[in-house]
Symmetry: C2
Subunit: 622 residues, 2 copies
């Protein structure tokens, strides 16, 4: 799958192919230099192949899609462990609302001609004390065969709390995975299969990122992570960011195409991979939870996200309760409940509400700032008293977009870098220990910080030093060569230009000014922030001191920063295993106030003031 | 579509084709005489076409499938009118549980960025006082486009009482179509469309017969019949009766094939025809109700009916609450609730429970007998105190099957007949006033009765008279020629053989002995039956005196018989328009006791005693 961050507009230049034989039509754009064009480089998105031709596809042009990775039993995620502990301490870590029953049904006889379904209902009521039991059509379809093939000894997964008429306050209290929940409630049968099936009952938790999707299979009985898998979001071929995805969905049939890309081409293969690795049957997966941004949530359901990007930026839904796997087209039992972490605005979605739940932000007396650094920067500031959120268009700089030498944090990415004071020569670390291809977000932060520290660039981002690594093009635009072509995997220089630096400064200014405006709106100052929790795709490699040095974050000292990893996935896991967590995330979402920056007085001034390294007000970083 | 009552086993002989040119392989069977084979007749089900050949397909070989018939505004069904009146008198004719709302939603602005879905929920709650409102994914998918294209003025169909957690006693009392129901309940949004859409909110009621399917479109506001359509059940190509359908479903993929035949090839075209005739948009159809026998109900849901025909004859379900149109694949709004009249046994299904509701049997002090004369004869005996049901394998004789000259009650069928005492010549009436093709059920009853009255046959059904219309074949088997080949549409004699008469006697004996066994089981006698209600496909043409003369029914006098038509459809209509009726039919079903004749002592004796014209105990008919 060819990378297309700009959605095929010829503007990002990421889909460069090298023409070996034959000829193509087009293939040029302003994002491809004349020299490179002459050397045989073409943009795939601008090319028409009319006759036989042979190309080479460099790694840089490959979207992070093919790499479906599965790790068995990876349960050592600190945020996830901490979240479980925190929810337990607060009495919110309740049972999942799912039960795995083993039932021996009485065999029919001339004296007992109850239908198969009634036999199952009666047995479930007898074992659980459920008030009523629902059998969806999908279960009825399986039932006659299953009961007879299994000699009337079946396993049956049931869900509580998914009957739409249930009260929200129907939490089963004091029952942490004790299997005794559900009496007096309506139970819905999710799936039924032979008692000989050895797969433990499981739940699925997924973080749906714009770029990549992570899925965890957890065992229901003890919330143990059985396997973890990730893959690129197959929607990526329609554009790298949510705006390009929304543009793509507006073409005829586009919403359904995007829905299929995420469901059929991404999630279902992930489910298959998790099942194959663990040997678990998909019919034993009783529930799925999803955390994604507002656009991802809409496209997952096949709902147009068009109005998210149109003033006044109104989504179709925040919460979407009562969904089932069958409605979404997932290869799970059709009646399996699906929980989606709620959105709170067009640009603050379920990944943030799940992440805030995972971060614990909502539970402390101290004020904390949650920062998710991705294509959009999303921020939540507050404590147990209030939660204020905003989103700023940081652009994709922190994921390597909008930067000529930028790339995602995958193999070949320079993730850490320093520059020698004297020689101005760089030293760097590459992910996967391979020949370098480009810089990911953390590498870019280090590079800008080091260029600044060594005086190669000034506060405006202009290159002011001279030396063997500094170049200027025909228009006088300077660049700093990080790795010369001879040493790179692509055979092209890895260099950062003044245009790149300017893009990066605007991205960090968007984040910083959003923080200042949120503080201003709530009457607090930088020193009132007891901790900054950094989440998201920028990776654990971020150097907080360097990030502070360039003015991305306010100066608090690195001890007051925590990198909390994929908090969205941790939140989704909690939702999958705990009914209390599913209710908590809805409650957190309803408590989050959304601040629309574009209409907040003072934001533009704050942004412009922050477009300097580290800031026009040097006293903030003194 | 070629008729195949036997499911393609070569035994019924109904699929006779006339070979004009070319040759085919096979085509013969014991049900085709050597003379007919020599004359070019072939059985389609036994033939293999290896090269070009030309055939003529007589009308007798065409299954009643092509004739999708639509009648607009046919509301003069007496049973339906009487049922409405009866339910109203008893306070059971409550509102449908559906409301058609016209809502003006507030437009989003910078000050009001509620999601589209929340706007709809808030407006529904404001207008109805609903406790909570559910938006299924199917509605969310439509919503962003609909609200904007309609300038925020929408119509919205909502259902109450379909939330699975709702109590069964949540009947909205005292509100007959007053549109004020539903406050304090959970509402489910079924569909949303522009307020400019002029289609009135409607409901759909269907009777799914093994042979033919009838569908009614009713206006929600006043339960008026807007259109009525019928078509053959497309499953007919897999066999005429439920046993052959079950055999067919057992082939690989058979259940799904049968489900598609009824849903995609029968019901969806009927829905399209009803919409086309009335100009009503399918999105305005808020609910569907179905009444069918137990096998039809199973196959409608895609559930195997295999175990209905295996000892101890246990179906998968009696009731199937909580279904929606989307789960069933119907071209209605995916969230439209679907109600299925409950089964009470493998051979007493929803057509009977709906029919009993329609007949009023459950409401009277007097004892009545409900008789549905079809392939199976189903009987219900009782009053407001008790209801006893049974099913007897009458065979398809009353629908023209198992009888060489039999056919369904369509054009060309002799439906009434008398024989002159002197000349022994018949006079007959043909449906559609066409050249005759065969005899339908009512014509056969008349024929047997007249053959008996005129002394052509004796009590055992043997032909004992001689005359120009009496023939004997090489084996001495007698037959009576009703219409000579020259006057028939097919160019073949219409004649009844002693074998046919024997089959018919066994069919009538099955019904009569079932009646006697039910009376015996409850301690009543023939004279205790205040009324016999005859329902089903035998048609309104049945001559009760002649039916009694042959011993099909006990001797009560024709005034104590009522023909109540398609009571199954009338019951389905009540279920579609009245929530009270949907609850009533479940209650009736749970009150019906099922008597398994095959294990009832005395049934076999009673059957054998009834295998005589009119009966071995002549005193019963004196």
């Amino acid at each position: 799958m060819i990378d297309a961050p700009c959605g095929g507009n010829g503007t990002c230049g990421k889909c460069r192919l090298h023409l070996l034989d034959g000829a193509i039509e087009g293939g040029s754009s302003t994002s491809l230099s004349e020299r490179d064009f002459a050397a045989g480089w073409r943009l795939a998105c601008m090319s028409t192949v009319g006759a036989d031709a042979r190309f080479e596809l460099p790694d840089t042009a490959v979207a992070w899609q093919s790499g479906l990775k599965v790790v068995a039993g990876m349960a050592d995620d600190r945020t996830w462990q901490a979240l479980q502990t925190s929810l337990k301490e607060q009495g919110l870590y309740t049972a999942s609302g799912i039960r795995d029953l083993t039932l021996t049904l009485s065999e029919p006889s001339a004296d007992d001609v109850r239908p198969d379904g009634q036999r199952l209902i009666d047995a479930v009521i007898e074992q659980t004390g459920a008030l009523d039991v629902e059998l969806p059509a999908s279960v009825l379809r399986e039932l006659p065969g299953v009961v007879r093939e299994s000699n009337w000894r079946v396993r049956c997964l049931i869900a509580y709390g998914y009957s739409s008429g249930d009260d929200a306050d129907g939490i089963v209290s004091g029952t942490e995975f004790d299997g005794e929940s559900g009496g007096g409630e309506t139970a819905k049968v999710i799936s039924v299969f032979s008692a000989d099936e050895s797969s433990p009952a499981c739940v699925l938790a997924c973080d749906i990122g714009t770029t990549s999707v992570s899925a965890t299979l957890l065992r229901l009985s003890d919330a143990e992570v059985l396997a973890q898998a990730s893959a690129g979001n197959a929607q990526i071929r329609y554009g790298a960011d949510v705006i390009n995805r929304i543009i793509a969905q507006n073409r005829a049939g586009g919403v359904e195409r995007m829905r299929r890309a995420i469901v059929e081409d991404t999630l279902n293969p992930l489910i298959a991979a998790l099942c194959a690795t663990t040997g678990i049957s998909a019919q034993a997966i009783a529930l799925a939870s999803f955390a994604g941004n507002t656009t991802m949530n809409h496209l997952l359901l096949g709902v147009s996200a068009e109005y998210l990007r149109r003033d006044p930026f109104v989504p179709c839904f925040f919460s979407a309760p009562g969904l089932s796997a069958g409605e979404l087209g997932l290869t799970l039992p059709a009646a399996a409940p699906v929980s989606i972490a709620p959105n709170v605005g067009s640009y603050v979605g379920g990944d943030i509400t799940a992440g805030v739940m995972a971060s614990g932000l909502w539970s402390f007396d101290e004020l904390m700032l949650f920062v998710d650094l991705g294509t959009n920067g999303e921020l939540v500031f507050g404590n147990r008293e209030f939660l204020l959120s905003c989103a700023c268009s940081a652009g994709p700089a922190f994921e390597g977009g909008d930067i000529s030498c930028g790339m995602r944090a995958t193999n070949g990415a320079i993730e850490a870098l320093s520059i020698d004071d004297e020689s101005l020569e760089p030293t760097y670390a590459v992910i996967g220990d391979e020949a370098p291809l480009g810089l990911c977000g953390s590498g870019l932060i280090d590079l800008i910080s080091e260029l600044m520290r060594t005086g190669i660039i000034d506060g405006r981002g202009a290159i002011v030093a001279e030396g063997p690594r500094v170049r200027r093009d025909a228009y006088g635009i300077g660049s700093y060569v990080v790795v010369a072509a001879a040493e790179t995997a692509s055979g092209v220089d890895i260099a950062i230009t003044e245009v790149d630096i300017d893009n990066f400064i605007r991205a960090k200014a968007a984040i910083f000014s959003a923080i200042m405006v949120m503080l201003d709106a709530t009457g607090f100052g930088v020193d009132d922030i007891s901790r900054i929790l950094v989440a998201g795709g920028i990776g654990s490699g971020i150097d907080i001191d360097k990030a502070t040095a360039i003015g991305l974050f306010p100066k608090l000292g690195s001890k007051r920063f925590s990198y909390i990893g994929n908090s969205s996935l941790a939140g989704a896991r909690a939702m999958a295993v705990s009914r209390g967590a599913r209710e908590l995330v809805e409650q957190i979402a309803s408590n989050i106030t959304y601040l629309e920056l574009s209409t907040t007085p003072g934001y533009m001034d704050a942004f412009i003031a922050a477009c300097f390294l580290p800031h026009t007000d040097q006293s903030l970083f003194a």
